[in-house]
Amino acid sequence: MSNDKKIDELSGTEVTGHEWDGIEELNTPMPRWWLGIMLLTVVWSVGYVILMPGIPLLNSYTKGLLGHTDRGRVDTAITDMHEARSVYAQKLLTTDFQAVLKDPDLLDDPAVFRFALAQGKSLFGDNCETCHGARGRGFIGYPNLNDDIWLWGGSFNEIRQTITYGIRSTHDESRLSIMSAFGRDEILTREEIKSLTDHVLSLSDTTKDKSPRGATLFAQNCVSCHGENGGGSREFGAPDLTDADWLYGGSRAQIRTTIFNGRQGMMPHWNQRLSADQIVALSVYVHSLGGGE
């Protein structure tokens, strides 16, 4: 501090010498206990560094005597969460959702249903949205789960079966069917495929011309799975060709490609990745998206 102390006339307090537009800063002394508190925080920080992880080293860091780690806390929190959920998880397995979803009155604890929906929603986000899109909106080749159109069935049990074992997955119990590549494997000629495409188009759109040749080809090659009138079959996961919904697109070119190359959409089996109760929750959620039967 400088020797020539300047004193503010009005307050009689020494000034620091800092001045802004004629306003000078007073050098009011701090109370000594304030300094004490600051020193206390310094002492505290020493103790803190000793007890808690603190100083970064080259490849590691000081661990601290208390052995605290944030990861450890997350692990504990997750364990606690699973424990808290286990009560409801048990109830998910013992509840007959196939019946409950038809008649909600059968459920004695509505919280179980809400728990299933909440857990199903987050599981869907983590596991299913990659292919089926946000909230199961669907893309070309990946079914929309909001509508009432189901390839393999939309009841709770069917949905659960599909999620558990997958479609054309590597699991032995997987749902399985084959849509042949009629063109690539030279089962039909290009001309025949063109006629067949015309016929398939006319199934859902009555304004389109009927093709007698196509109808014959359809009867020979397609009815075994898609049904006599093209109404589809859930036994084989064969789509209804008479409705307005097309999994792989409904334009002439898209339908022709489907017949030419065949379609082998695949969904993995989830029974190894998800627990049985999680699959129940997921099935309830998918059922609740609007199309559940």
């Binding site: 307090t13 002394p29 701090m30 304030w34 946000a134 909001n146 509508d147 159109i149």
Partner: protein
């Protein structure tokens, strides 16, 4: 501002030997109190000097005891007041229920999303403080601030154990004897008990009071209750027992803010130097002509809880407790001069009197009018919104992914997540209708129709989500989006709530 010079009897007197006489006027003893917060500091850090405020009797002291009794009474009794809200809600009149996210205040119940009521309350408090400050200076600090109330209480306890000012100074200087230890121990035990009672009352506001009190003693109370009990105990003990005026001088922002609220028309505890100066000792029988009424007895300094000399003028440290008024009035009566040498007065009045004009008290000024209007304006808005607060609400979140779903039969379906807020204390059964939309089909996840209707049940004082699907068979005659309302109707009371939403048809714009 003035020609008059304020005397400095606080400074070491050069003629020390001559002024050691104890009486400064007939029957008035000089107090050798020194202002511990003198206006000229010495070093970078200042050691705190203990303030030993002297006991005082008088109008303002009585007023302060009265206010203290009422405020402490409110603080300690409030959690015990019961208020019947029916079986599904707590029966504590004032309760901040963090576990269930509810705030109860007698007939008012507030949900977390209605926190703006608290904002309104804070605005009201601020405006009230502004108004009080513009009218009467730091009355909040002097009479109502918890720091002042508890410090006052602690000082009373201190006086009870250790005696008044002089006895306390003597005691602190004396060596540690068993008597001194006994006095000090008694004081600290009493302080700690008061502190614990303070912390104990605090936590009662957050839980059911009778149950928490029992739980507290048998060790079953929540951990947070013990933590806050300990915190409040520690801070009451430290702040009212030891920190005292240091809180006001160094920590509290209010003294700084108040500088902007106080103008030269605001009533403040003021030493009327126009009447008091020149000060000096007075002998009985001497004339009062040509001198001021201040006899330099320093009683005002002796009673000051912040250790200042009010005669130095308005100061940051002054909390406006008015105890120096009582002390000075007492002396004025003794020496036969009129009361009010120190009084609630304004700087403007001092100037007027110096010019020979009359006193003028301008309580009605643009600033006070504005504060009053703002205060009652905000108050009216709050009362209005509280009276019209709905106890049944519905928020609608329309599905955006996907915006609409085409079903196999060609009909179009939209999904809605509705959140029903039942703020009533009874469970509700609600009917739902789509108003202004020819929906051909409605379904609700987890519900089935009873007598052709969906009955949505919501427990008392809770929110519940439902997923509602509406489908329209033929949308060809509709626009791309149809605005409509969902209406909830209480089956019993017929209370209803209407919320606007829309139906996306997927038709081109």
């Amino acid at each position: 501002m003035t020609e008059l010079k304020i005397g400095h009897d606080n400074k070491p007197d050069p003629n020390h030997g001559q002024t050691t006489r104890k009486t400064v006027a007939h029957g008035v003893e000089r107090s050798f109190a020194k202002a511990v917060s003198p206006s000229t500091p010495e070093s970078l850090y200042k050691k705190r000097t203990q303030v030993y405020p002297k006991a005082v009797k008088g109008t303002y002291r009585s007023l302060k005891w009265f206010i203290m009794a009422i405020l402490l009474g409110i603080y300690y009794i409030t959690p015990w007041i019961r208020w019947d809200r029916g079986p599904s809600a707590p029966n504590q009149a004032v309760l901040i229920d963090f576990e269930n996210a509810r705030l109860y205040f007698f007939f008012i119940e507030i949900w977390p999303q209605e926190i703006y009521y608290i904002t309104g309350l804070l605005i009201l408090s601020a405006l009230g403080l502004f108004l009080a400050t513009a009218l009467f200076g730091r009355v909040w600090c002097g009479y109502a601030c918890p720091q002042t109330i508890w410090t006052d209480l602690f000082m009373a306890v201190e006086r009870f154990f250790e005696g008044d000012r002089n006895a306390r100074i003597k005691l602190d200087k004396s060596p540690w004897t068993s008597k001194k230890i006994a006095k000090k121990t008694g004081k600290h035990i009493a302080w700690l008990l008061i502190s614990m009672a303070t912390g104990g009352a605090w936590i009662l506001y957050f839980h059911d009071a009778p149950r928490l009190l029992t739980d507290l003693f048998i060790g079953h109370a929540p951990q947070t209750a013990y933590v806050f009990l300990a915190l409040m105990t520690f801070f009451t003990y430290a702040l009212a027992g030891f920190m005292r005026e240091q809180i006001c001088t160094y920590m509290c922002p209010w003294p700084r803010i108040q500088a902007a609220m106080i103008d030269d028309q605001a009533l403040n505890v003021t030493y009327r130097f126009d009447r008091g100066e020149p000060r000096g000792a007075h002998k009985k029988g001497e004339t009062w002509d040509g001198r001021g009424d201040c006899i330099g007895c320093r009683q005002c300094v002796a009673v000051c809880p912040t250790g200042i000399d009010i005669r130095d003028g308005a100061q940051l440290e002054c909390i406006g407790c008015a105890l120096c008024i009582d002390a000075c009035d007492d002396i004025m009566v003794k020496i036969g001069r009129p009361k009010g040498l120190i009084a609630y007065d304004t700087d403007a009045n001092i100037e007027r009197r110096l010019k020979g004009q009359r006193n003028q008290f301008n309580l009605i000024r643009p600033r006070t009018i504005l504060y009053t209007i703002a205060f009652f304006g905000v108050g009216a808005v709050m009362v209005y919104s509280l009276l019209n607060r709905s106890v049944l609400d519905m928020n609608i979140l329309r599905d955006r992914i996907p915006n609409y779903v085409t079903l196999s039969d060609g009909s179009v379906r939209n999904g809605y997540t509705i959140k029903i807020l039942n703020k009533a204390t009874a469970p509700r059964e609600l009917r739902i209708d789509a108003m202004g939309l020819d929906a051909t089909q409605m379904s609700i996840v987890g519900l089935k129709k009873i007598n052709g209707q969906f009955i949505l049940s919501v427990p008392a004082d809770e929110t519940l989500d439902y997923k509602v699907y509406l489908a329209i068979k033929d949308v060809s005659q509709l626009s791309d989006r149809e605005i409509f309302h969902l209406k909830l109707t209480d089956i019993k009371t017929q209370e209803n709530t209407l919320t606007e939403t829309m139906f996306i048809t997927g038709n081109p714009k």
